[in-house]
Symmetry: C2
Subunit: 401 residues, 2 copies
Amino acid sequence: MSLIVQKFGGSSVRDAERIRNVARIIAETYLKGNDVMVVLSAQGDTTDDLIAKAEEINRHPSKREMDMLLATGEQISVALCAMALEAMGLPCVSLTAWQVGIHSTTQHGDARIKLIDPDRIRMELDSHRIVIVTGFQGVDKRGDVTTLGRGGSDTSAVALAAAFRADLCQIFTDVDGVYTTDPRLVPNARKLEEITYDEMLELASQGAQVLHNRSVELAKKFRVNLEVLSSLERKPGTKVKEVTKVEKTNIAGVAKDTSIARVALVGLEHTPGIAFQIFDLLSRHNINVDVILQSIGREDSKDITFTIHRKDLDETLDLLNDNKATLHFDHIESDDHIGKVSIVGAGFMSNCGIASRMFEALYEAGINIQMINTSEIRISVLLNEEDVNRAVKAIHAKFFD
Amino acid sequence: MSLIVQKFGGSSVRDAERIRNVARIIAETYLKGNDVMVVLSAQGDTTDDLIAKAEEINRHPSKREMDMLLATGEQISVALCAMALEAMGLPCVSLTAWQVGIHSTTQHGDARIKLIDPDRIRMELDSHRIVIVTGFQGVDKRGDVTTLGRGGSDTSAVALAAAFRADLCQIFTDVDGVYTTDPRLVPNARKLEEITYDEMLELASQGAQVLHNRSVELAKKFRVNLEVLSSLERKPGTKVKEVTKVEKTNIAGVAKDTSIARVALVGLEHTPGIAFQIFDLLSRHNINVDVILQSIGREDSKDITFTIHRKDLDETLDLLNDNKATLHFDHIESDDHIGKVSIVGAGFMSNCGIASRMFEALYEAGINIQMINTSEIRISVLLNEEDVNRAVKAIHAKFFD
């Protein structure tokens, strides 16, 4: 007998028919003799509908009250799913994050899970009930409801799998696994049977929407066996684990991200600590910086170029301009019509031809590279936004056709 | 400075505009220097929508999961109301029943409040925040969500007013007070300035929809000053209190109830304890019996006639027939086309002409009386259902025109 965590996203529970489908998947797993813990997101458009309701009343509600409002979405999902399982005659119980005791920080809208109380769930599992838990949410030390931010339900599922040492954590989505690139863009993209945590992390942070980074990081830290699969088609998905079984001779995939902007501080003085000052300023305002590149400028000055999320561009420019006096730069250049294309794979270091094949594909497609950035298992290039899709197709063809 | 509890029903918070209206009423009370505790129901049709969602999945869900589902309705209301108050710059906090600690019995769908934990609300009031609490719900000893059944939000408001010794508990509805009878039926019905708890109790249990019995009982027990008023029109409502200031020379009102059915067990043996057996059987199945009348039948047997809620008729008949062998009756007669009309007033005992005036009005209207039942402050008659509205008009005219 195994303990299996199954997480279903919003589109998998969007209406009565989909909920019944989810209940059948859960029932099948349970009737094989497994203990089953289920984590659900809010139904389909529920979260958007609730946000619209809030906006009608207050354009800038407090995050505390927003969490209070949004947390109802998952509560509706778990109650309905329990009813579907009851209709099949299966013993089950729905639990909210506060009923479980999913303790989180107080950072409303983007809270972190600190600790999961095992008692209630353990009691329910010992009574052979299927346990259905609200994803995306927690409760802080005062008993206030928090939400975990983007990818929160995946994180809830992995955290529960870690806390109860589950044998497997299955993330059901509307795609049937992790692909070598976006199949909507490249029809002959291939589904990966296995992928490492590190590869998944790089793919996720490079724009692949399948799993959120936080959940993969948590899975890696606690060695949770993850599987990404479809709730609509019954076929094997992609397994995410520490080491994959075959030695890689190819990259794992091609990812793109067009939600970024580039900022360049031109003509910075050669003062020690200037980079620290810049990025400390941005981090104190919760602005995440991705690629950073420093180069020597004219006349003994230097330039620092970096990328950020596009939504943060206005705030970043304001912050930098407000601090021009202390940062001592000449002027700022920015571009929000850029995109990033990355290849990811565990075998880069032992396959030195990989990078040149990527650049060859771009050269053949006549695409200009603005910046290059590499990690042990990833190579990213910054391009004009309009070249991004063409670049993905060219690179994917070079490696997989 | 006073502590005031304000309760708003579902129609008072049904959309953004109504919620802003509610926020203005709350703000006005708070800005006069009062501590304010607000209790809200679910918005307009939310509860019905949630029930429809559940029925699509399971015709007979467990009451536990139904409570889990329905409790989201009030949580949405309190969060949105808090956002409306935030938009006005007022300090406030929304709290669910479990966050407050409104401890209840486990009887899902019809739970009773056992105890209210004062700590969290006291802390918020001490910080001069407006406290907005979900009505209709509680949390049981295991931490499961319960709902309080019909009239639950009124009960929540009165219970909070009692627990914190509030100076006033205002129940805002879509009518502006308690009337001498239903103004939709009798246009010249009059609004009562004051009414006693006992009169309100009799009116409520006789079908006046303004306040639910449980809340009035609780208000009476803890001497909570109640006021029923409109959330849409700013004018005085009806005060419900222990003793009203003027000596009554008239009845308080005329009420009707057409949701009842009559059951007669004919030809019962003269065995001691037979009435106990019958009504114990019904009470064990949560069937409430209202008027009971026992009479001598033919040949040394007796008949027992009683009224129940119409929805319980089928179950009652099944139960009685299943137990025919032990109850020893000859046959059952039942009628679900009856109605009840009642007059209520604290001065009955000292105004012996009241009953005869009521009967006179019915006689003049040519209406037949099936059964009569009286209490210290109420006289009820059972009539054919089609005579009920005519009876209310005739009686109201006799006493108030």
